[in-house]
Chain length 324, copies 2
């Protein structure tokens, strides 16, 4: 998977800055929003980095394009492959289309039709498999063998992590004087990248992850001091359902993150509604996890200002109607 | 009503520029958003001026604060009064609170509880009246007589119009090369102000109004060449339900606007959903009227780029759930 790098690069601020230059042609510099009402409710000044306005509706295009744009030309011509029924699928599809190569996205056959269509709409070939009867890894092996394509992993890769870290880099360029930063954590690509960027720019900043109670794999791992795997869970934050953090992402989280804060399903829904009703922005459940932690005053004392990563806004309007 | 001005000022670009300076301390410079997906769907490049992100959730604070900040100190101390169950109530309340004077907002007793509470939450005193048994004008006369307060009219006043026009001024500063501009039209304050600003900056720009089919008073007036009054209507675009345009606003619309474009209830809802699902922004029905006209390709031929005023985002989540 790393064959196209002579060495595995270390995840540093320099790697994040390099990513920022590399992905500038495709990634949008998303706005930073504030809300006096939210601040009063939360008891802290919040600066929201709105990746729901990112191309593809989530931060995922940052990491995917940083990796895809780094693949040597000869390899790139054979295409890229990703496994995802979520935002990583669209991020990879957009990055591949941008450089004119083929993206093959492997999705469970029972993924929402809207996701299948959105991914095809971005020019990707979608291969579906039956979750009950087929093995994901076998499909991956076969596709990679047959095509010679390059795998774009969802989070546990230095270039993916560095790409996601550009989110925090932009936020701190616009709002330098933050006491803390909080981002949602699934596999940990966004959180570890943002922690690397933020601590690199300002070693004093305090970094937190926000994770659903129902998918608390990073929380448990963080407390155990080793990677813990949990059974699959049904949180509405479908982007944060990873059964365990990545090896690389977790080692960075252990080193740079102060704590993982848990949020309930109700708190996530309440934060989504608050962001919609008051900030007028649509945020998907996963994207609202960090805002939920802040809104429900779960940050430790002594924090006057916090950067909050709103990681995505891809939610079906039917699902939204149910939440409301 | 105009006693605090020695003369009624003419509505010019200079008056709009003066308004921009006056309201800078309170009004937010809202972002301009674009969407490649929308452009493909609409067949035109659209630049959305997002007044749903404005303080109070709509453009109304621009005009209200421009007027309130112009009231002589001695008069200002006796407070301000507005009639509104909508965004003008909140705009006036915010402007009054900003200068430390009392706002009295007169609303029908059957207005949504959320609107009453939001307005009180902004520090205003809310006076309710029974639409069936009480006369609005009598209440106004009594309140003005008793308090010596100044009335803040919703649209038909040079300072209100100039304040709303700052919306287009900002849009054209950010996106100067627009072929056209379109704004929703209710009483006509926003449209006439934006037309004044836009034509003042770029005399070649083509200006359009967007109005619900169910509240087509400006459309009918525009075609008749005189103010036409229509019976009260039930459009979901509750901010655009005025029975007739204002005298001053209509004279400006006649002079500067090329056409009034009608949109159906279904088109408004579809535009709301599109803006929510694709741009991830919450827009109220009134606020989506101009976007609906563009999305459904109702602009005349020969327009490559258009500025679209998204005028507000105040919609109850219960109502939103119904639209979805």
């Amino acid at each position: 998977m790393l064959a196209y790098h002579e060495q595995i690069p270390e995840v540093t601020l320099a790697l994040v800055r390099e990513a920022a230059r590399r992905i500038a042609p495709i990634a949008r510099r998303t706005p930073v929003m504030t809300s006096a009402g939210f601040d009063a409710e939360a008891g802290v000044r919040a600066a929201f980095k709105c990746e729901n306005f990112q191309r593809g509706g989530a931060f995922k295009v940052r990491g995917a394009s940083n990796l895809v744009f780094s693949i040597p030309k000869a390899d790139l011509a054979r295409g890229v492959i990703a496994f995802s029924s979520g935002n990583h699928a669209q991020g990879t599809a957009l990055a591949a289309r941008f450089v004119g190569t083929k993206a093959t996205i492997v999705m469970p056959a029972d993924a929402p039709r809207s996701k299948l269509e959105a991914t095809r709409g971005m020019g990707a070939a979608v291969v579906t498999y039956n979750r009950a009867t087929e093995n994901r890894e076998e499909i991956a092996d076969r596709l990679l063998r047959e095509s010679g394509a390059t795998m774009v992993p969802p989070f546990d890769h230095p270039l993916i992590i560095a790409g996601q870290g550009t989110t925090a880099l932009e936020l701190l360029e616009e709002t330098p004087d933050l006491d803390a930063l909080i981002a949602p954590v699934g596999g940990g690509g966004l959180l570890s990248g943002c922690a690397t960027a933020a601590k690199g720019v300002n070693p004093k900043i305090r970094v937190f992850g926000a994770e659903p109670e129902l998918a608390n794999d990073t929380y448990l791992s963080f407390r155990a001091g080793r990677i813990v795997t949990i059974p699959s869970q049904d949180t509405i934050a479908d982007g944060l359902r990873s059964p365990h953090p990545g090896e690389l992402t977790f080692s960075i989280v252990q080193r740079l993150v102060e704590d993982i804060i848990l949020v309930s399903e109700d708190e996530i829904k309440a934060a989504m509604k608050y962001l919609l009703a008051r900030l007028k922005i649509l945020v998907e459940p996963s994207g609202a996890a960090a805002a939920a932690a802040v809104l429900f005053r779960k940050l430790p004392a002594g924090i006057g200002s916090v950067g909050v990563v709103i990681s995505g806004g891809n939610v079906d309007l039917e699902a939204l109607a149910e939440y409301l």
